[in-house]
């Protein structure tokens, strides 16, 4: 018995059981409040994904088809936004740049912009990989049919490449969802901030953070499921990766 790990000490377990009803009541009371936070989290994540998408596509196209100097600049952008932690960016933008440039943005807006910029760097790499995985014949065939570069890219290359990037994109969703919890540092009223707020008043830290974790798990699960359905829905029969 001597080698038993401390975690299993009966007194701790008993205490845990004794506090069980109290914890459940705390969770029940906080749940509607936390779920409102889930809406905020989802808004931040969807906003950031959209911003990342809008910036990521031109970045990816530029990195594949652009001028060498242009490619280097985009490479630098990606390196910069992928190499610095989110927390440092949030502080830099919210406390630093917004004050220095005298722009008045809410923490919520800054969270979307920062997450979106970082995500654009990651998403550009996803799209770049997808564009490179298409066979080059597709682009050449479009050019042979008399399409301009821009037309060939936007009507032939991108529709296929974007379909191919949905699996990686759903990964990006789950990463963004988890990263969005960090925006709590700025005071965005998302799940984590609300859980912390309730926990510091009720002293039910463990159950409340656990509930927050479970909500994140459910959101991840629902999002990945939804994107898988989207992937099925937009699939063009015969245009799988093997077919090309």
């Amino acid at each position: 018995m001597a080698g038993r790990p401390q975690l299993m000490r009966p007194s701790i377990f008993c205490e845990f059981c004794k506090r069980m009803p109290e914890s459940l009541i705390a969770i029940g009371d906080a749940l509607p409040y936390l779920l409102q936070g889930a809406l905020v989290t989802l808004t931040v994540v969807i906003g950031a994904m959209a911003l990342g998408l809008i910036l990521g596509i031109p970045l990816a196209v530029g990195q594949v088809y652009g001028h060498p100097a242009f490619r280097r600049a985009i490479g630098l952008y990606v390196w910069f936004f992928r190499g610095i932690p989110l927390l440092a960016f949030l502080f830099l933008f919210y406390f630093g740049l917004c004050t220095a440039l005298d722009i008045n943005l809410s923490a919520f807006t800054v969270a979307i912009i920062v997450l979106g910029l970082i995500s654009s760097a990651y998403q550009s790499q996803i799209f770049r990989g997808a564009i490179l995985s298409l066979s080059e014949g597709q682009f050449r065939a479009a050019r042979a049919l008399g399409m301009s570069d821009l037309k060939a890219i936007s009507f032939i290359v991108l529709p296929q490449a974007l379909r191919l990037s949905i699996p990686a994109w759903s990964n990006e969703y789950s990463i963004l969802l988890k990263d969005s919890a960090v925006t709590y540092a700025l005071g965005v009223a998302e799940i984590m901030a609300r859980a912390h707020f309730v926990a510091t008043r009720t002293y039910q830290q463990l159950p409340l953070y656990f509930t927050a974790g479970v909500i994140f798990l459910l959101l991840t699960w629902a999002g990945t499921k939804g994107l898988r359905i989207l992937e099925e829905r937009v699939r063009i029969p015969g245009y799988t990766t093997h077919g090309m």
């Binding site: 401390q6 975690l7 007194s11 701790i12 205490e15 845990f16 506090r19 390196w79 910069f80 992928r82 190499g83 610095i84 932690p85 989110l86 927390l87 440092a88 960016f89 502080f91 830099l92 406390f95 630093g96 740049l97 004050t99 220095a100 789950s174 969802l177 988890k178 990263d179 969005s180 919890a181 960090v182 709590y184 540092a185 984590m192 859980a195 912390h196 926990a199 002293y203 039910q204 830290q205 463990l206 159950p207 953070y209 656990f210 927050a212 974790g213 994140f216 798990l217 991840t220 699960w221």
Partner: protein, 224 residues
């Protein structure tokens, strides 16, 4: 001139101190995470069914819950059941367990990518299962998992900044303190950003070298 003095007497020592704390967080967490990842990865592929299920649950939980929630559970949550951890210990524990879950995914993928012939050959040479895994399969699998694991270590470097949220004063924390004293948020957080950029770039470089060094000629991905 005054600014330069401020940087030399205040900013530099504080950031240096924070940098060492960051390294003290990152290095043990990366090593522990890798060890956990290898063990869990092996269990997920070769373990018995209940062990496999337990390992899968661990991975699903730790990959699905944001790292910051995990850190809060370790630091603010555990005292609720009578376990008190220092901010440093809670951070290392949180980072190790979280990155262990991610490493195990790469290890698992690499283990599954090793051709069956390797196993059959080991068995025909009289290796038992443990010997086969540790001296034949894992050495190849780890080499294959290295790019993914390296990425995870780079992520860990970035995520180590979250330790500040549970009051472990590392690089970001020192920066926050400096910045709130001097109100020079932009300058100081740009410096912090550069520090992290250097750390992640150097780590990526070292990991690339390691990959190169460990490569076995003839054992590249497409050959086996």
């Amino acid at each position: 001139m005054e600014e330069w003095l401020y940087i030399r007497t205040e900013v530099y020592p504080a950031l240096l101190k924070g940098f060492w704390v960051s390294l003290e967080l990152i290095i043990p967490s990366a090593l522990c995470g890798l060890i956990i990842g290898i063990i869990v990865g092996v269990l997920r592929v070769y373990g018995s069914r209940p062990v496999m299920a337990a390992a899968n649950t661990y991975v699903a939980l730790f990959r699905g819950i944001p790292l910051i929630v995990q850190l809060f559970i370790w630091y603010f949550g555990l005292p609720g059941i009578g376990i008190y951890l220092s901010p440093f210990a809670a951070s290392v524990l949180g980072f190790s367990l979280c990155s262990g879950a991610y490493h195990s995914e790469y290890i698992r993928g690499a283990l599954l990518s090793i051709k069956r012939g390797q196993m059959l050959a080991a068995q025909s040479l009289g290796f038992n299962k443990v010997q086969m895994i540790f001296s034949i399969i894992l050495p190849q699998a780890i080499r294959r998992a290295l790019p993914g694991c390296g990425n995870e270590i780079v992520y860990l470097i970035k995520y180590s900044s979250l330790a500040y949220m549970i009051t472990c004063i590392e690089l970001t924390g020192q920066g926050k303190i400096l910045a709130s004293n001097s109100f020079k948020y932009t300058e100081i957080f740009l410096m912090i950003g550069v520090c992290y950029l250097v750390m992640t770039s150097v780590a990526a470089l070292i990991l690339g070298r390691l990959e190169e060094r460990l490569r076995l000629p003839g054992f590249e991905h497409d050959r086996i």
